[in-house]
Symmetry: C2
Subunit: 231 residues, 2 copies
Amino acid sequence: MNKPKAVVLLSGGLDSTTVLAIARDQGFEPCALSFRYGQRHAIELDYARRVARAMGVENHVVAEIDLRVFGGSALTSDIAVPKDRPATEISHGVPVTYVPARNTIFLSFALAYAEVLGAADIFIGVNALDYSGYPDCRPEYIDAYERMANLATKAGVEGRTRLTIHAPLGSMTKADIIRAGTALGVDYGETTSCYDPGEDGRPCGGCDACVLRAKGFAEAGLADPLVARYR
Amino acid sequence: MNKPKAVVLLSGGLDSTTVLAIARDQGFEPCALSFRYGQRHAIELDYARRVARAMGVENHVVAEIDLRVFGGSALTSDIAVPKDRPATEISHGVPVTYVPARNTIFLSFALAYAEVLGAADIFIGVNALDYSGYPDCRPEYIDAYERMANLATKAGVEGRTRLTIHAPLGSMTKADIIRAGTALGVDYGETTSCYDPGEDGRPCGGCDACVLRAKGFAEAGLADPLVARYR
Protein backbone atom coordinates (compact mmCIF):
# COMPACT_ATOMS: atom_id res chain seq x y z
CA MET A 1 0.00 0.00 0.00
CA ASN A 2 1.22 3.48 -0.76
CA LYS A 3 2.16 5.57 2.20
CA PRO A 4 0.26 8.84 2.63
CA LYS A 5 2.31 11.83 1.52
CA ALA A 6 3.17 14.58 4.00
CA VAL A 7 4.82 17.93 3.31
CA VAL A 8 7.82 18.51 5.60
CA LEU A 9 9.33 22.00 5.88
CA LEU A 10 13.05 21.31 5.73
CA SER A 11 15.66 23.98 6.39
CA GLY A 12 18.57 21.56 6.73
CA GLY A 13 18.77 22.40 10.43
CA LEU A 14 18.71 20.13 13.43
CA ASP A 15 15.00 20.60 14.23
CA SER A 16 13.53 20.17 10.73
CA THR A 17 15.78 17.17 10.02
CA THR A 18 14.51 15.51 13.18
CA VAL A 19 10.94 16.27 12.08
CA LEU A 20 11.63 14.61 8.72
CA ALA A 21 12.77 11.47 10.55
CA ILE A 22 9.67 11.59 12.79
CA ALA A 23 7.30 11.95 9.80
CA ARG A 24 8.94 8.97 8.12
CA ASP A 25 8.79 6.96 11.36
CA GLN A 26 5.04 7.73 11.62
CA GLY A 27 4.48 6.04 8.26
CA PHE A 28 4.35 9.03 5.94
CA GLU A 29 6.17 9.51 2.64
CA PRO A 30 7.86 12.86 3.38
CA CYS A 31 7.87 15.41 0.55
CA ALA A 32 10.38 18.10 1.52
CA LEU A 33 9.97 21.83 0.94
CA SER A 34 12.83 24.31 1.35
CA PHE A 35 13.15 28.01 0.54
CA ARG A 36 15.75 30.26 -0.97
CA TYR A 37 14.44 33.47 0.61
CA GLY A 38 17.46 35.72 0.57
CA GLN A 39 18.82 34.29 3.84
CA ARG A 40 22.45 35.12 4.61
CA HIS A 41 22.93 31.48 5.58
CA ALA A 42 21.79 30.09 2.21
CA ILE A 43 24.36 27.35 2.71
CA GLU A 44 21.61 25.62 4.71
CA LEU A 45 20.08 24.64 1.35
CA ASP A 46 23.14 22.45 0.62
CA TYR A 47 22.51 20.75 3.96
CA ALA A 48 18.80 20.41 3.16
CA ARG A 49 19.61 18.69 -0.13
CA ARG A 50 22.11 16.37 1.57
CA VAL A 51 19.71 15.53 4.37
CA ALA A 52 16.86 14.84 1.92
CA ARG A 53 19.08 12.55 -0.14
CA ALA A 54 20.48 10.75 2.90
CA MET A 55 16.95 10.07 4.14
CA GLY A 56 15.65 8.80 0.80
CA VAL A 57 13.25 11.68 0.09
CA GLU A 58 11.99 11.47 -3.50
CA ASN A 59 10.16 14.80 -3.75
CA HIS A 60 12.13 17.85 -2.65
CA VAL A 61 11.05 21.29 -3.90
CA VAL A 62 13.14 24.41 -3.30
CA ALA A 63 10.87 27.45 -3.72
CA GLU A 64 12.36 30.83 -4.63
CA ILE A 65 10.85 33.69 -2.66
CA ASP A 66 12.76 36.87 -2.08
CA LEU A 67 11.95 38.13 1.41
CA ARG A 68 14.64 40.81 1.12
CA VAL A 69 12.01 42.88 -0.69
CA PHE A 70 10.60 43.81 2.73
CA GLY A 71 13.80 43.93 4.82
CA GLY A 72 13.44 44.07 8.59
CA SER A 73 15.52 41.08 9.75
CA ALA A 74 19.15 40.35 10.55
CA LEU A 75 18.77 37.10 8.58
CA THR A 76 17.94 38.88 5.29
CA SER A 77 19.76 42.20 5.57
CA ASP A 78 22.91 43.84 6.90
CA ILE A 79 21.65 44.03 10.49
CA ALA A 80 24.26 42.25 12.66
CA VAL A 81 23.41 38.82 14.05
CA PRO A 82 23.64 39.00 17.89
CA LYS A 83 26.41 36.88 19.37
CA ASP A 84 27.28 35.24 22.69
CA ARG A 85 23.93 35.72 24.41
CA PRO A 86 23.57 33.20 27.24
CA ALA A 87 20.93 30.52 26.58
CA THR A 88 18.87 31.80 29.51
CA GLU A 89 18.43 35.17 27.80
CA ILE A 90 17.63 33.91 24.31
CA SER A 91 13.97 33.09 24.92
CA HIS A 92 13.07 36.55 26.21
CA GLY A 93 11.70 39.05 23.70
CA VAL A 94 11.76 38.85 19.90
CA PRO A 95 15.31 39.24 18.52
CA VAL A 96 16.48 40.91 15.29
CA THR A 97 16.93 37.51 13.64
CA TYR A 98 13.13 37.22 13.54
CA VAL A 99 12.00 37.34 9.90
CA PRO A 100 8.56 39.00 9.70
CA ALA A 101 5.82 36.42 9.11
CA ARG A 102 8.34 33.83 7.94
CA ASN A 103 6.61 30.72 9.29
CA THR A 104 3.26 32.03 8.01
CA ILE A 105 4.77 32.38 4.54
CA PHE A 106 6.50 28.98 4.73
CA LEU A 107 3.30 27.24 5.91
CA SER A 108 1.32 28.92 3.12
CA PHE A 109 3.62 27.45 0.51
CA ALA A 110 3.42 24.10 2.30
CA LEU A 111 -0.37 24.38 2.08
CA ALA A 112 -0.18 24.97 -1.68
CA TYR A 113 2.23 22.03 -2.09
CA ALA A 114 0.02 19.78 0.05
CA GLU A 115 -3.03 20.69 -1.99
CA VAL A 116 -1.28 19.87 -5.27
CA LEU A 117 0.07 16.57 -3.85
CA GLY A 118 -3.29 15.66 -2.34
CA ALA A 119 -1.59 15.48 1.07
CA ALA A 120 -3.49 16.15 4.30
CA ASP A 121 -0.47 16.48 6.57
CA ILE A 122 2.16 19.19 7.01
CA PHE A 123 5.11 18.87 9.40
CA ILE A 124 6.98 21.87 10.82
CA GLY A 125 9.86 21.89 13.27
CA VAL A 126 8.75 24.76 15.49
CA ASN A 127 9.55 24.46 19.13
CA ALA A 128 8.44 26.75 21.91
CA LEU A 129 10.85 25.73 24.62
CA ASP A 130 14.53 26.00 23.62
CA TYR A 131 13.74 28.61 21.01
CA SER A 132 14.50 32.15 20.01
CA GLY A 133 11.30 33.82 21.21
CA TYR A 134 9.67 33.98 17.78
CA PRO A 135 5.86 34.53 17.96
CA ASP A 136 5.23 32.13 15.08
CA CYS A 137 6.67 29.16 16.96
CA ARG A 138 3.99 28.99 19.67
CA PRO A 139 1.33 26.22 19.85
CA GLU A 140 -1.57 28.73 19.81
CA TYR A 141 -0.22 30.11 16.54
CA ILE A 142 0.01 26.64 14.98
CA ASP A 143 -3.57 25.82 16.10
CA ALA A 144 -4.91 29.05 14.56
CA TYR A 145 -2.99 28.35 11.35
CA GLU A 146 -4.51 24.85 11.09
CA ARG A 147 -8.01 26.24 11.58
CA MET A 148 -7.47 28.84 8.85
CA ALA A 149 -5.89 26.29 6.50
CA ASN A 150 -8.96 24.07 6.72
CA LEU A 151 -11.07 26.95 5.42
CA ALA A 152 -8.57 27.94 2.72
CA THR A 153 -8.43 25.01 0.38
CA LYS A 154 -10.53 23.22 -2.18
CA ALA A 155 -10.15 19.92 -0.29
CA GLY A 156 -11.24 21.60 2.94
CA VAL A 157 -14.29 23.23 1.37
CA GLU A 158 -15.35 20.06 -0.37
CA GLY A 159 -14.98 18.23 2.95
CA ARG A 160 -12.63 15.66 1.42
CA THR A 161 -9.73 15.96 3.81
CA ARG A 162 -9.02 17.51 7.15
CA LEU A 163 -5.60 19.09 7.05
CA THR A 164 -3.34 18.62 10.07
CA ILE A 165 -0.32 20.75 10.92
CA HIS A 166 2.07 18.56 12.91
CA ALA A 167 4.54 20.30 15.19
CA PRO A 168 6.00 17.23 16.91
CA LEU A 169 8.84 19.13 18.61
CA GLY A 170 6.22 21.32 20.33
CA SER A 171 7.44 21.38 23.90
CA MET A 172 10.55 19.19 23.63
CA THR A 173 13.86 20.54 24.91
CA LYS A 174 16.75 20.69 22.43
CA ALA A 175 18.26 17.72 24.28
CA ASP A 176 15.00 15.73 23.86
CA ILE A 177 15.01 16.55 20.14
CA ILE A 178 18.61 15.38 19.73
CA ARG A 179 17.90 12.17 21.65
CA ALA A 180 14.75 11.47 19.59
CA GLY A 181 16.54 12.09 16.28
CA THR A 182 19.53 10.00 17.30
CA ALA A 183 17.19 7.11 18.15
CA LEU A 184 15.70 7.44 14.64
CA GLY A 185 19.15 7.32 13.03
CA VAL A 186 19.58 11.02 12.16
CA ASP A 187 23.19 11.98 11.41
CA TYR A 188 23.43 15.48 12.86
CA GLY A 189 26.77 15.95 11.11
CA GLU A 190 24.64 16.49 7.97
CA THR A 191 22.66 19.34 9.56
CA THR A 192 23.44 23.00 10.18
CA SER A 193 22.00 25.50 12.65
CA CYS A 194 24.22 28.60 12.51
CA TYR A 195 22.70 31.96 11.46
CA ASP A 196 26.06 33.35 10.41
CA PRO A 197 28.30 30.55 9.09
CA GLY A 198 31.66 30.93 7.34
CA GLU A 199 31.85 30.40 3.58
CA ASP A 200 32.81 26.78 4.13
CA GLY A 201 29.78 26.31 6.40
CA ARG A 202 31.77 26.49 9.63
CA PRO A 203 29.36 27.45 12.48
CA CYS A 204 30.18 30.78 14.16
CA GLY A 205 29.64 29.27 17.61
CA GLY A 206 28.22 32.49 19.03
CA CYS A 207 24.78 33.14 17.50
CA ASP A 208 21.62 32.10 19.37
CA ALA A 209 21.23 29.01 17.16
CA CYS A 210 24.80 27.83 17.85
CA VAL A 211 24.41 28.47 21.60
CA LEU A 212 21.12 26.54 21.82
CA ARG A 213 22.56 23.67 19.77
CA ALA A 214 25.66 23.35 21.95
CA LYS A 215 23.54 23.43 25.11
CA GLY A 216 21.27 20.70 23.64
CA PHE A 217 24.12 18.32 22.84
CA ALA A 218 25.69 18.97 26.26
CA GLU A 219 22.41 18.18 28.05
CA ALA A 220 21.85 15.08 25.92
CA GLY A 221 25.34 13.92 26.89
CA LEU A 222 26.28 13.54 23.21
CA ALA A 223 29.02 15.04 21.04
CA ASP A 224 27.89 17.21 18.10
CA PRO A 225 29.30 15.50 14.98
CA LEU A 226 29.23 18.87 13.17
CA VAL A 227 31.80 20.26 15.61
CA ALA A 228 34.09 17.30 14.95
CA ARG A 229 33.71 17.90 11.23
CA TYR A 230 35.08 21.45 11.39
CA ARG A 231 37.78 20.74 13.97
CA MET B 1 -0.86 64.37 10.92
CA ASN B 2 0.46 61.36 9.04
CA LYS B 3 -2.14 58.97 7.74
CA PRO B 4 -1.88 55.39 9.02
CA LYS B 5 -0.35 53.06 6.44
CA ALA B 6 -2.33 50.11 5.11
CA VAL B 7 -1.13 47.29 2.87
CA VAL B 8 -3.41 46.83 -0.16
CA LEU B 9 -3.11 43.69 -2.27
CA LEU B 10 -3.25 45.05 -5.82
CA SER B 11 -3.54 42.81 -8.87
CA GLY B 12 -4.44 45.60 -11.26
CA GLY B 13 -7.93 44.16 -11.60
CA LEU B 14 -11.30 45.78 -11.07
CA ASP B 15 -11.82 44.53 -7.51
CA SER B 16 -8.40 45.31 -6.03
CA THR B 17 -8.34 48.74 -7.68
CA THR B 18 -11.70 49.55 -6.10
CA VAL B 19 -10.32 48.37 -2.74
CA LEU B 20 -7.35 50.71 -3.16
CA ALA B 21 -9.76 53.62 -3.68
CA ILE B 22 -11.80 52.54 -0.63
CA ALA B 23 -8.68 52.33 1.60
CA ARG B 24 -7.64 55.82 0.51
CA ASP B 25 -11.18 57.12 1.07
CA GLN B 26 -11.13 55.66 4.60
CA GLY B 27 -8.12 57.82 5.44
CA PHE B 28 -5.29 55.32 5.00
CA GLU B 29 -2.04 55.79 3.08
CA PRO B 30 -2.25 52.73 0.82
CA CYS B 31 1.00 50.76 0.31
CA ALA B 32 0.43 48.44 -2.63
CA LEU B 33 1.67 44.86 -2.92
CA SER B 34 1.59 42.91 -6.19
CA PHE B 35 3.04 39.54 -7.20
CA ARG B 36 4.84 38.10 -10.17
CA TYR B 37 3.91 34.49 -9.46
CA GLY B 38 4.20 32.85 -12.85
CA GLN B 39 0.69 33.89 -13.88
CA ARG B 40 -0.06 33.61 -17.60
CA HIS B 41 -1.70 37.04 -17.39
CA ALA B 42 1.43 38.79 -16.05
CA ILE B 43 0.31 41.81 -18.07
CA GLU B 44 -1.85 42.61 -15.02
CA LEU B 45 1.35 43.88 -13.38
CA ASP B 46 1.53 46.69 -15.98
CA TYR B 47 -2.02 47.62 -15.02
CA ALA B 48 -1.14 47.42 -11.32
CA ARG B 49 1.76 49.83 -11.82
CA ARG B 50 -0.43 52.21 -13.85
CA VAL B 51 -3.25 52.10 -11.30
CA ALA B 52 -0.84 52.69 -8.40
CA ARG B 53 0.69 55.68 -10.18
CA ALA B 54 -2.69 57.11 -11.19
CA MET B 55 -3.88 56.89 -7.59
CA GLY B 56 -0.77 58.51 -6.12
CA VAL B 57 0.54 55.42 -4.30
CA GLU B 58 4.09 56.06 -3.05
CA ASN B 59 5.02 52.56 -1.88
CA HIS B 60 4.40 49.75 -4.36
CA VAL B 61 6.28 46.48 -3.94
CA VAL B 62 6.16 43.72 -6.56
CA ALA B 63 7.23 40.46 -4.89
CA GLU B 64 8.67 37.64 -6.97
CA ILE B 65 7.30 34.22 -6.00
CA ASP B 66 7.22 31.39 -8.45
CA LEU B 67 4.06 29.39 -7.87
CA ARG B 68 4.71 27.33 -11.01
CA VAL B 69 6.98 25.19 -8.83
CA PHE B 70 3.84 23.40 -7.59
CA GLY B 71 1.65 23.48 -10.73
CA GLY B 72 -2.01 22.61 -10.33
CA SER B 73 -3.77 25.63 -11.83
CA ALA B 74 -4.84 26.85 -15.25
CA LEU B 75 -3.47 30.28 -14.31
CA THR B 76 0.10 29.03 -13.84
CA SER B 77 0.36 26.10 -16.25
CA ASP B 78 -0.77 24.81 -19.63
CA ILE B 79 -4.22 23.74 -18.41
CA ALA B 80 -6.78 25.51 -20.62
CA VAL B 81 -8.73 28.42 -19.14
CA PRO B 82 -12.47 27.59 -19.35
CA LYS B 83 -14.43 29.86 -21.66
CA ASP B 84 -18.02 30.99 -22.20
CA ARG B 85 -19.48 29.60 -18.98
CA PRO B 86 -22.70 31.46 -18.12
CA ALA B 87 -22.42 33.70 -15.04
CA THR B 88 -24.98 31.57 -13.23
CA GLU B 89 -22.69 28.55 -13.42
CA ILE B 90 -19.44 30.26 -12.45
CA SER B 91 -20.01 30.29 -8.69
CA HIS B 92 -20.64 26.55 -8.42
CA GLY B 93 -17.66 24.35 -7.55
CA VAL B 94 -13.97 25.25 -7.62
CA PRO B 95 -12.70 25.76 -11.19
CA VAL B 96 -9.29 24.94 -12.70
CA THR B 97 -8.29 28.61 -12.52
CA TYR B 98 -8.09 28.23 -8.74
CA VAL B 99 -4.44 28.60 -7.69
CA PRO B 100 -3.80 26.40 -4.62
CA ALA B 101 -3.55 28.52 -1.46
CA ARG B 102 -2.99 31.70 -3.47
CA ASN B 103 -4.77 34.13 -1.18
CA THR B 104 -3.15 32.50 1.85
CA ILE B 105 0.25 33.07 0.27
CA PHE B 106 -0.61 36.64 -0.79
CA LEU B 107 -1.95 37.54 2.67
CA SER B 108 1.17 36.05 4.28
CA PHE B 109 3.39 38.37 2.27
CA ALA B 110 1.03 41.26 3.10
CA LEU B 111 1.46 40.35 6.77
CA ALA B 112 5.26 40.50 6.44
CA TYR B 113 5.03 43.85 4.60
CA ALA B 114 2.61 45.25 7.22
CA GLU B 115 4.91 44.18 10.02
CA VAL B 116 7.92 45.89 8.42
CA LEU B 117 5.87 49.06 7.71
CA GLY B 118 4.38 49.06 11.20
CA ALA B 119 0.92 48.92 9.59
CA ALA B 120 -2.05 47.35 11.39
CA ASP B 121 -4.36 47.14 8.37
CA ILE B 122 -4.42 44.91 5.30
CA PHE B 123 -6.95 45.30 2.48
CA ILE B 124 -7.90 42.48 0.11
CA GLY B 125 -10.44 42.52 -2.71
CA VAL B 126 -12.04 39.16 -2.12
CA ASN B 127 -15.70 38.91 -2.81
CA ALA B 128 -17.97 35.99 -2.11
CA LEU B 129 -20.94 36.90 -4.27
CA ASP B 130 -20.05 37.48 -7.93
CA TYR B 131 -16.97 35.30 -7.66
CA SER B 132 -15.40 32.22 -9.08
CA GLY B 133 -16.15 29.80 -6.23
CA TYR B 134 -12.67 29.97 -4.69
CA PRO B 135 -12.59 28.74 -1.06
CA ASP B 136 -10.16 31.47 -0.02
CA CYS B 137 -12.61 34.27 -0.89
CA ARG B 138 -15.18 33.46 1.82
CA PRO B 139 -15.73 35.60 4.93
CA GLU B 140 -15.14 32.68 7.33
CA TYR B 141 -11.74 32.18 5.72
CA ILE B 142 -10.82 35.86 6.11
CA ASP B 143 -11.91 35.80 9.78
CA ALA B 144 -9.77 32.74 10.49
CA TYR B 145 -6.83 34.35 8.71
CA GLU B 146 -7.12 37.49 10.83
CA ARG B 147 -7.20 35.45 14.02
CA MET B 148 -4.08 33.52 12.99
CA ALA B 149 -2.30 36.71 11.89
CA ASN B 150 -2.77 38.27 15.31
CA LEU B 151 -0.88 35.34 16.85
CA ALA B 152 1.84 35.33 14.19
CA THR B 153 3.60 38.62 14.58
CA LYS B 154 5.89 40.44 16.93
CA ALA B 155 3.43 43.36 17.17
CA GLY B 156 0.60 40.95 17.98
CA VAL B 157 2.55 39.13 20.66
CA GLU B 158 3.77 42.31 22.27
CA GLY B 159 0.16 43.57 22.28
CA ARG B 160 1.11 46.73 20.41
CA THR B 161 -1.33 46.52 17.53
CA ARG B 162 -4.35 44.52 16.60
CA LEU B 163 -4.13 43.60 12.94
CA THR B 164 -7.28 43.91 10.84
CA ILE B 165 -7.87 42.23 7.49
CA HIS B 166 -10.33 44.42 5.57
CA ALA B 167 -12.37 42.76 2.83
CA PRO B 168 -14.68 45.67 1.99
CA LEU B 169 -16.14 44.03 -1.14
CA GLY B 170 -17.32 41.13 1.06
CA SER B 171 -20.86 40.63 -0.14
CA MET B 172 -21.13 43.35 -2.80
CA THR B 173 -22.27 42.40 -6.28
CA LYS B 174 -19.94 43.23 -9.16
CA ALA B 175 -22.35 46.05 -10.08
CA ASP B 176 -22.16 47.44 -6.53
CA ILE B 177 -18.35 47.35 -6.71
CA ILE B 178 -18.31 49.19 -10.03
CA ARG B 179 -20.75 51.82 -8.73
CA ALA B 180 -18.71 52.31 -5.53
CA GLY B 181 -15.43 52.66 -7.43
CA THR B 182 -16.94 55.02 -9.98
CA ALA B 183 -18.19 57.24 -7.14
CA LEU B 184 -14.62 57.28 -5.77
CA GLY B 185 -13.21 58.31 -9.15
CA VAL B 186 -11.71 54.98 -10.27
CA ASP B 187 -10.96 54.83 -14.00
CA TYR B 188 -11.76 51.21 -14.87
CA GLY B 189 -10.10 51.70 -18.25
CA GLU B 190 -6.82 51.37 -16.28
CA THR B 191 -7.78 47.96 -14.85
CA THR B 192 -7.76 44.45 -16.28
CA SER B 193 -9.69 41.32 -15.30
CA CYS B 194 -9.08 38.75 -18.05
CA TYR B 195 -7.38 35.41 -17.18
CA ASP B 196 -6.23 34.86 -20.76
CA PRO B 197 -5.54 38.22 -22.46
CA GLY B 198 -3.88 38.74 -25.85
CA GLU B 199 -0.30 39.97 -25.98
CA ASP B 200 -1.53 43.57 -26.27
CA GLY B 201 -3.72 43.06 -23.16
CA ARG B 202 -6.96 42.65 -25.12
CA PRO B 203 -9.47 40.76 -22.88
CA CYS B 204 -10.56 37.38 -24.28
CA GLY B 205 -14.20 38.12 -23.45
CA GLY B 206 -14.97 34.49 -22.65
CA CYS B 207 -13.19 33.54 -19.39
CA ASP B 208 -15.08 33.63 -16.09
CA ALA B 209 -13.45 36.94 -15.13
CA CYS B 210 -14.50 38.61 -18.42
CA VAL B 211 -18.04 37.23 -18.13
CA LEU B 212 -18.48 38.46 -14.55
CA ARG B 213 -17.01 41.87 -15.44
CA ALA B 214 -19.36 42.35 -18.41
CA LYS B 215 -22.36 41.30 -16.31
CA GLY B 216 -21.33 43.80 -13.61
CA PHE B 217 -21.08 46.76 -15.97
CA ALA B 218 -24.39 45.79 -17.60
CA GLU B 219 -26.16 45.63 -14.21
CA ALA B 220 -24.59 48.93 -13.11
CA GLY B 221 -25.89 50.49 -16.31
CA LEU B 222 -22.38 51.70 -17.21
CA ALA B 223 -20.10 51.16 -20.19
CA ASP B 224 -16.78 49.39 -19.51
CA PRO B 225 -14.10 51.87 -20.63
CA LEU B 226 -11.70 48.93 -21.18
CA VAL B 227 -13.96 47.60 -23.94
CA ALA B 228 -13.93 50.99 -25.67
CA ARG B 229 -10.12 51.02 -25.43
CA TYR B 230 -9.73 47.81 -27.41
CA ARG B 231 -12.49 48.51 -29.95
